[in-house]
Amino acid sequence: MATGTETTTRARLRWGLLDVLVVVFALVPVLWIASLSFKTPATITDGNFIPQEWTLDNYRTIFDTDQFVRALINSIGIALIATLIAVVLGAMAAYAISRLDFPGKGLLVGVSLLIAMFPQVSLVSPLFEIERQLGLFDTWPGLILPYITFALPLAIYTLSAFFKQIPWDLEKAAKMDGATQGQAFRRVIAPLAAPGLFTTAILVFIFCWNDFLFAISLTSTERSRTVPAALSFFTGASQFEDPTGAICAAAVVITVPIILFVLFFQRRIVSGLTSGAVKG
């Protein structure tokens, strides 16, 4: 008995250490960026983890420049629109896939899987050419379209896992109880699918929000440049200032919403991601 508890304590210690290591490895860069964003230009290279002189100047700077505010608006707008469209289309496709047997169903699922697997880098040049020809280059739709394309497989997969969990019988029961097809969907299926829709929306939003590759390749001006792309063009308050502090502040600003999102809806997301795999 004594040896038993001893081994579990030791095992727990070992796992605890490993966990700490992983967390530190993942968090230190984030904390470092946060720390840099609070430093003054003079102390930014001093190598101290904790800023010697705290300042909010970097934040003031980025919100004063049009560059960043404009990029933030682009980011939010593009990600929201792409998410909305992807979730609505994905919900319809997923509902059909989980409920109906139609010719070409296997093909549809296969193609969407293929798109999800496709290396995005290899599509950047053709997309660039196509969008320039069509006049979509450096516009919101020019980013929204590829985002929807790559987010749809993700949306279809998570959502069809959700719809498959909702028993067919519920819909039949609703119809027997006097509901129309629409009422059955709105009053029985939709409330049950809500967590799934929500999870999917968050995942798609994060995917759009974080994208750098398309954002840098398919935009050229502030008109449609999103924050991840805008960061690389950052110049500070004046041309001659070192922009490191400002870049860090901007990075923190776009990271914080995601962290809050995930912390806040963590349980939802996790249950959403696993509910397709594990019954119950």
Binding site: P167, D169, L170, K172, A173, A174, K175, M176, D177, G178, A179, T180, Q183, R187, V188, P191, L192
Partner: protein
């Protein structure tokens, strides 16, 4: 309340499966009808067609005299209880039961009073604010029933509503269903694959096999006068014994001895196309320990001697299992029934006999015993088409009938 009429109703699925074939059935107003048969025989499909959840491929369905083939489920005013109960997990028991009433746009007070009333009938009052996830299987089942009865529909359809309950609860709920149906007097179609449920619940039982109706009638009639081998083997527990019988010189050679034949059967067997081999069927209760049979009764039957294999004493009587030598009865129906019962791999060469003898019988395992059986109660089946040859104008007359 309404009668339900199925007129040559068939169902062919897009993949070519014919699940239901020319079903004719008239269900009277207020009647309790059971659809029973092995799994896959088309019971659920039939029920779903009545409900409107499946399209009818051909034939006509009338409810209350009106053709409803093309009506949506909600326009048929029928309630259904599903095997899975299909309770809405996001709603409380009260909301579940109120759902059909809210869709019917009744006012709040009426809804509440109707739900309370139904809850009282089913003893659900204390559970009204719970979610289905926090209910036991039996309680969920009752909520599903409650949701069906609350809006007083024209008919109830139930698809194996008790099969997810454990054996004890199932027996208990059986009486609840039965009492409820009598109390409400609503036309009910009830699907089950359990012949005991079918025998105990319904006014009339419809036995289905491979999408076709085999026989329709009150339970006792199906038990006493089965029209064919399938019905005979499906109804009854333990089921009827089947033995191979060869027609020879106006009598039957069987493993239990030579069975004499009455004039009527003999005439029938003299026809040119009559079968030369038959299947003899006899129910366990038509055997008796030969020592306990009086002279009068003895003359109406035959005796044989066989080694006793197993004795199960039930208190009121004894189930005694014998093995008899001779060819095993074989027919497509019997194989199907055995497969459905999960006993497709019989072992041994001879046939097994199940008999129900009086409790006073001194029978013991391992010894040989003389057993009498009643010739007036045996059935003879044509193995090629399963027809019951002893049936005369719908009555089984035994082997000796003139």
């Amino acid at each position: 309340m309404a009668d339900i009429v199925l007129d040559k109703v068939s169902k062919k699925f897009p993949d070519g499966t014919v699940a239901v074939q020319d079903v004719d059935l008239e269900i009277a107003d207020g009647e309790f009808v059971i659809l029973v048969g092995p799994s896959g025989c088309g019971k659920s499909t039939t029920l779903n067609m009545i409900a409107g959840l499946e399209d009818i491929s051909s034939g006509e369905l009338r409810i209350g005299g009106q053709r409803v083939n093309d009506k949506a489920p909600r326009d048929r005013d029928i309630a259904m209880v599903f095997q899975s109960y299909a309770l809405y997990p996001n709603m409380t028991v009260r909301e579940n039961m109120a759902f059909p009433l809210r869709l019917a746009k009744l006012d709040k007070e009426t809804i509440n009073s109707k739900v309370d009333e139904a809850a009282k009938v089913l003893e659900l009052t204390s559970l009204l604010d719970r979610k289905p996830a926090n209910l036991s299987g039996g309680q969920r089942q009752r909520v599903a029933m409650g949701r069906a009865i609350v809006r007083q529909p024209k008919a109830f359809l139930m698809d194996e509503p008790l099969s997810n309950l454990d054996a004890k609860l199932r027996v208990q709920m059986r009486t609840v269903v039965s009492r409820l149906q009598k109390q409400l007097g609503t036309t009910t179609v009830y699907v089950t694959h359990d012949q005991t449920e079918a025998m105990t619940l319904g006014d009339r039982v419809v036995i289905m096999r491979g999408g076709a109706v085999q026989q329709v009638g009150p339970p006792q009639e199906l038990y006493d006068h089965p029209r064919n081998l399938f019905v005979a083997g499906f109804i009854g527990s333990p089921s009827m014994n089947f033995l191979h019988a060869a027609v020879q010189d106006g009598s039957l050679r069987t493993a239990l001895g030579d069975v004499p034949l009455g004039d009527r059967i003999r005439r029938e067997l003299e026809a040119a196309d009559a079968p030369r081999e038959l299947i003899l069927g006899i129910r366990p209760e038509h055997f008796e320990d030969a020592e306990l049979v009086d002279e009068d009764t003895r003359r109406r039957g035959l005796e044989f001697e066989a080694p006793v294999e197993i004795v199960e004493s039930m208190g009121s009587d004894k189930y005694v299992y014998f093995t008899v030598e001779g060819e095993r009865a074989s027919a497509a129906e019997l194989e199907e029934l055995a497969a459905d019962a999960g006993a497709s791999d019989f072992s041994g060469a001879g046939s097994n006999l199940v008999t129900r003898l009086s409790a006073e019988s001194a029978v013991a395992e391992g010894q040989s015993r003389r057993v009498w059986f009643n010739l007036e109660k045996i059935h003879l089946f044509d193995p090629t088409n399963g027809r019951n040859l002893t049936l005369h104008e719908g009555r089984a007359a035994g082997a000796l009938a003139d």
